[in-house]
């Protein structure tokens, strides 16, 4: 159907537009109105890994990238979310009912899982993915290794600043793809 011509064609020849998941037979000649199940479409969570975030030891965001078809988050918002996560991680250790808590490792919600790893130097790596995605801990350790190799050993990288190292970004992409492929996503 040529949507661009809708304004100029006479009503009788306008193409009939059907909703994407609506069987065409139901619309034509049917007198009952059935609502399309939009809530089904909106709760579709992309499978596999969604995004990877790296936070420096003061709580500032140094790397954030999405690897699935998820709604993009505004840059300022990502900075805010990173510092919120940094404080939540610290508070969870303070509010522990027993001694020796190191902070949140896993957050499981209805629509996504979040796995976090904190290094001994205070840098946090976390990944969001669809619920019950396997292999996230290994992915985070792989990203940490890549961070050590392509960011820390990069003489032009300024510590605690946003990461702009092409090799790091490329290799993280490969690692995410490998995690998704290993489990059939």
């Amino acid at each position: 159907p040529c949507f661009g011509l809708l304004g100029t064609t006479p009503l009788s020849v306008r193409p009939r537009v059907t909703a994407p998941d609506f069987p065409a037979g139901r619309l034509r000649g049917s007198s009952t109105r059935v609502c399309p199940r939009w809530h089904d479409m909106s709760t579709a969570v992309p499978p596999g890994v969604h995004s990877i975030w790296v936070i420096n030891k003061s709580g500032g965001l140094v790397y954030q990238k999405s690897y699935a078809d998820v709604p993009a988050i505004d840059t300022n918002e990502t900075l805010r979310l990173a510092s919120i996560w940094h404080s939540l991680h610290a508070i969870s250790a303070q509010l522990s009912p027993v001694e020796g808590c190191l902070g949140i490792e896993l957050l499981e919600t209805q629509n996504f899982d979040l796995r976090c790893v904190q290094t001994v130097t205070g840098t946090k790596f976390f990944v969001t993915a669809s619920p019950k995605t396997p292999g996230l801990a290994n992915l985070l350790h792989a990203v940490y290794d890549l961070y050590c190799d392509y960011v820390m050993k990069n003489p032009f990288y300024e510590l605690e600043m946003p990461i702009r190292c092409e090799l790091f970004e490329q290799n993280v992409q490969y690692a995410v793809r490998a995690t998704n492929n290993a489990f059939g996503y």
Partner: protein
């Protein structure tokens, strides 16, 4: 905890907060570090849970239909987070009540358990004609009854999962 892995699932605390952060019910099992909730800890706990709920709403990977930024967390109302030595299960209701259960880190999904605890809480507060209202502190007697039902629910849950 008695014996090894085959023993009771270890729970630390069960707390209920209303939407303004008042702690309506606080039960701590032995072995917990902070059994009573002093004001600063209460505010820190409630504030962090509030921020966590907003965080989940913003990080959720689909477009939030309700538009208030917290729709995702109230869709199912249950989420849990785990650290290396404890796991907290959170259930929130549309009226703003927050049910928190802290257990050992090895447990799985306790959504049913926490729902049962919510129902016993509701029995004692909203359904009790002598109580002030669902948002107020339950009386001493009902606290004792609630404690018993909470302990029983946790025992039942560990009997199921073991």
């Amino acid at each position: 905890r008695v014996g090894g892995r085959s023993a009771l699932m270890k729970a630390y605390t069960f707390r209920v907060f209303n939407k303004t952060g008042v702690c309506l019910f606080n039960h701590a099992w032995p072995g917990t570090a902070h059994t009573s909730l002093d004001d600063d800890t209460r505010k820190m706990l409630f504030g962090s849970l509030f921020s966590l709920k907003q965080f989940i709403g913003k990080m959720t990977p689909f477009l939030d239909q309700s538009g208030d930024g917290t729709g995702a967390a109230t869709l199912g109302g249950y989420y849990s987070f785990r650290t290396n030595n404890y796991k907290t299960h959170v259930h929130s209701t549309p009226t703003g009540l927050l049910f928190l259960l802290t257990t050992e880190p090895g447990v799985g999904n306790l959504q049913d358990v926490i729902r049962k605890l919510q129902l016993s809480f509701v029995d004692v507060t909203a359904k009790n004609p002598a109580a002030g209202g669902p948002d107020e502190l339950p009386s001493e007697v009902s606290c004792a009854a609630l404690t018993k039902s909470v302990a029983a629910a946790i025992e039942a849950a560990s009997a199921e999962t073991r």
